[in-house]
Amino acid sequence: MAKDGLTEFRLIGTRPDRPDGLDKVTGRARYGADFALPGMLFGAVVRSPHAHARIVRIDTSRALALEGVKAVVTRADLPDGLEGEDWDLQENTLAGDRALYDGHAVAAVAATSRLLAEEAARLIEVDYEVLPHVIDVDDAIRPDAPVIRQGAADASVPEGMPPNVVRYMEFGHGDIEAGFAEADIVRERSYRTEAAHQGYIEPHACVGQLGADGAGEMWVCTQGQWYIRRMCAAVLGLETAQLRVTPSEIGGGFGGKTTIFMEPLSLALSRKAGGRPVKIVMSRAEVLRATGPTASASMDVRIGMKKDGTITAARAEFRMQGGAFPGAPVDMALYCAFAPYKLPAVQHIGYDVLANRPKCAAYRAPGSPMGAFAVESLLDEMCRELGIDPVEMRLTNAVREGDRASYGPTFGSIGLVEVLEAAKGHPNMAAPLGPNQGRGIASGYWFNHSGETSVSMAISEDGTAQVSVGTPDIGGSRASIALMVAERLGIPYEDVRVNVVETGALGVNEPTHGSRATFASGKAAVVAAEQAIAEMCRRAAAEWGIDAEAVEWVDGAAQPAGPNAGRFPPMTIAEIAGKMGQTGGPISGHHEGLPEGVGASFGAHVVDVEVDPETGRVTILRYVVVQDAGRAIHPAYVEGQYQGGAVQGIGWALNEEYVYDDRGRLANPAFLDYRVPVASDLPMIDTVIVEVPNPGHPYGVRGVGETGITPPLPAIANAIEDAVGVRLTHLPMSPSKVLAALKGRG
């Protein structure tokens, strides 16, 4: 479905096995917890059982007296004087004078076995003075709420705001009141979403080693080894270059592994234990209580619409809590909320609010799903009221290339219209619906991101190629990068090996986040391959005694460019590589920078549900994801991203939520009660890959990893209304909530 319909590729768009596949299915792949070193100790973390408490006393003597215990670390072991995000990271690593949420780390211990470390952790005595706490965002924003931290607000917060508001934003364009006045109907509603965890299968795990000289190493499950390095160095007061960080294979991250949690503790414990390496592996309960999750949101949306479906004005006010630290993605939520629509007038207002919960981390399209839930739900209701087809309404208002985005910039090449047309024509749209069954549709958006990128590639003696990237492979990026490099070099896919390397091997790379790996590392790898090609052409030219400019690279070989250049048989990559030791030494390429030309990705999802009117259970009958990939380098892994995003969105929509008891403790820190969907809950998720190539990438790539989690939340709410006539505005739409709504108790 390529927009140009012209380009033919040898490898791009094929579906070879991923290079890491065999290791993964045979259990050979090394994940975070698989790493071990001689003399290694095991760490355990003492965590606050209170949502908010002053730490009166920590007594570590009984733990230290235990045979086999080698070190204990408290906040007193970390340097003073940090500021801003560094201070937040340090405070989250180990509580200072107050524990700020249930699960907040208070102390850590290292011992010769894991069981011993856990026993020692139980022997560390902490006296707490319990303080009033606040969990809910609307409670936290009240002027009389317990104050999480004085002076945490930044300069954006106007005088006189409630004390837990730490960031405030207001932006938009056009005459909003005139826009509403022009509308035939103006509707307003409030929505709420609950905190959801990224739910990666692999818990956080690391082995850290730090000597008295301040030089250290870490092996860790992460999306970004340079982030780990910088953040650990900041929290512990180390010199960044003295720390070398190697990423393991990664069992999911979804944004939650772009920051630090217990990693600095393993280094701090190692330093106190005479430099012996210390391994820390989180339990699932620790993962749920103290890492991730995303923010919870309370949102008001107001939209004006004409009878023909034209949107005349829109306004959103979002309040989000992202835990006890600034950083709820309220800005992103607002940027994305109206992004699919061309709006003459729009206003956004956002509050970032502190509450006694864990520090939120990025989660797949941070903020966008919440905003979409509110906006796409209200639009659907308005279409129903006006009797307009929801796809037609979306087409009527769809943004196109050159339009001004709701959040300011002008869109380049985008594929929203193509996506909506493909959804409209999908067979699921015509599938018959039975009693208590309904269909919902919603759109979603993510910007995608580029970021600091450094890639090296080198030709081996036999003409195969190795590529060193700094972006850990979460969703098949090694396969995609290998395809692009092999395409460019004109060699088989199997001849390219892509390695995810440690911090000592390249310049700074941002993590695999923002759907950037295939775009940014891929683009840099293609540039690096082109440098190697140029060098190989020079080597051939030198041997032939002709100008380098007179040589071209075709099908994996140098050849004279046209009859005037001379008559020589093509010189293959293997021939050139085989004698590179005599012709000038190693042949490689390297590119670094901030790759430009990121392409945004729009998607639309269509879901059919059935609601059991007696129990409120919602069953997903059919589901299709339609999304613009720019170009699918490896379509199977693009489909995997679409399906994975949809499934995480379905979980968030139907059952996933952080539940707190009245003392502010997380009531469901286990997968039993933190309900991600299981395989039998879902039908096969159908996918349609729309390809409107991104002109900013050599092969047209847009990021595809994040948009897919955005539409499921509203699409399912819209389908439930279609099925049984009740509108749910508070996630998750669990059986209890759906049944209550059906019985008029909602």
């Binding site: 856990e118 139980r122 339990s283 309960a285 007696e614 129990t615 409120g616 259970r617 139907l654 059952n655 539940v659 009531a667 469901n668 039993l672 009660d673 309900r675 969907p677 299981v678 039998s680 809950d681 669990s734 059986p735 209890s736 049944l739 209550a740 019985k743 108790r745």
Partner: protein, 288 residues
């Protein structure tokens, strides 16, 4: 922690009676080991029952019922066709427990003695009139399974007492049972409400019935009023309506992370109706 492997129930009871601290029996371990790993229970004495002769057997009793060993895993119950033909509701309750991996280990007795109000196999056992054979330091006794649960995490077993087998009564003619649970997902979840119905028919008419609810009170609850609502009827809509009301009225649930009071109360009635229909069809020899 001391790990024991007695070879008789008398020996197991003796070890348990002599133990001073926290004691657990180990059947499948799918509750005990998980609780140990989570640090919730750290036993001083762990008494493995799987080395005792016969604990993995399912035997017919002279009366025509069944004697089920305390280490028989869910997967073996499910594979036993004669037992399943007699008591499909009991077997389906146990088969709902966990996943394939858990089924390879988890037992009926462990499900009962773990003391969860939401245990999936217990309503079916109680509705069937199952009995527990108990060995204690001073000898044995046989009590209805219904008398074992005492509240969340508690049983009426005395210190040193161990269940040595479960006994299911003879099925008799024209009987059928069924168990349904409500969970938000489709598997790997814990019952928000559970309901077992065991009944006997004469033609279409119900002549005996037992309706038992799980997860709606501190222990499993038998609901005589619900049984009465369907005895003498052919499960017409009015009878089913009265059944549902009686089941809902018997609920004493809590509001928690798994469901609200209103939800559990409401859905108890819905499941009672649905389970009764299945049990009725089975009693009449229909496939259900």
């Amino acid at each position: 922690m001391r790990y024991h492997t007695p070879t008789t129930f008398a020996e197991a009871a003796g070890i348990a009676a002599a133990a001073q601290g926290v004691t657990r029996f180990l059947a499948g371990g799918t509750d005990v080991l998980v609780q140990m790993r989570a640090g919730m229970v750290l036993p001083d004495d762990l008494i493995d029952l799987k080395k005792i002769d016969g604990v993995d057997r399912i035997d017919p009793t002279p009366e025509g019922g069944w004697r089920i060993g305390v280490a028989v895993p869910g997967i073996a119950l499910g594979a036993h066709e004669a037992l399943r033909a007699d008591w499909p509701g009991v077997v389906e309750g146990m088969e709902l427990v966990g996943s394939t991996q858990i089924q390879g280990r988890a037992t009926l007795v462990g499900n009962l003695c773990n003391g969860s109000p939401a245990a999936d196999s217990v309503p079916g056992l109680v509705a069937a009139g199952a009995m527990a054979e108990i060995t204690g330091p001073d000898g044995g006794r046989v009590v209805p399974v219904a008398d074992i649960p005492a509240g969340p995490g508690r049983t009426t077993l005395q210190p040193g007492e161990v269940i040595s087998a479960l006994l299911l009564p003879p099925r008799g003619t024209a009987g059928g049972d069924a168990y349904l649970r409500f969970i938000p997902r489709t598997e790997m979840d814990i019952a928000v409400v559970g309901c077992a119905v065991n009944l006997r028919c004469d033609g279409d008419t119900v002549t005996e019935a037992s309706v038992v609810l799980g997860a709606v009170a501190p222990t499993v609850v038998s609901v005589p009023a619900a049984s009465a609502a369907i005895i003498g009827t052919a499960l017409d809509d009015t009878a089913l309506g009265t059944l549902a009301e009686a089941a809902s009225a018997a609920c004493r649930p809590i509001d928690d992370k798994r469901g609200t009071i209103a939800f559990r109360t409401e859905v108890a009635g819905v499941l009672a109706k649905r389970a009764a229909r299945i049990a009725h069809a089975r009693a009449k020899g229909e496939n259900a």
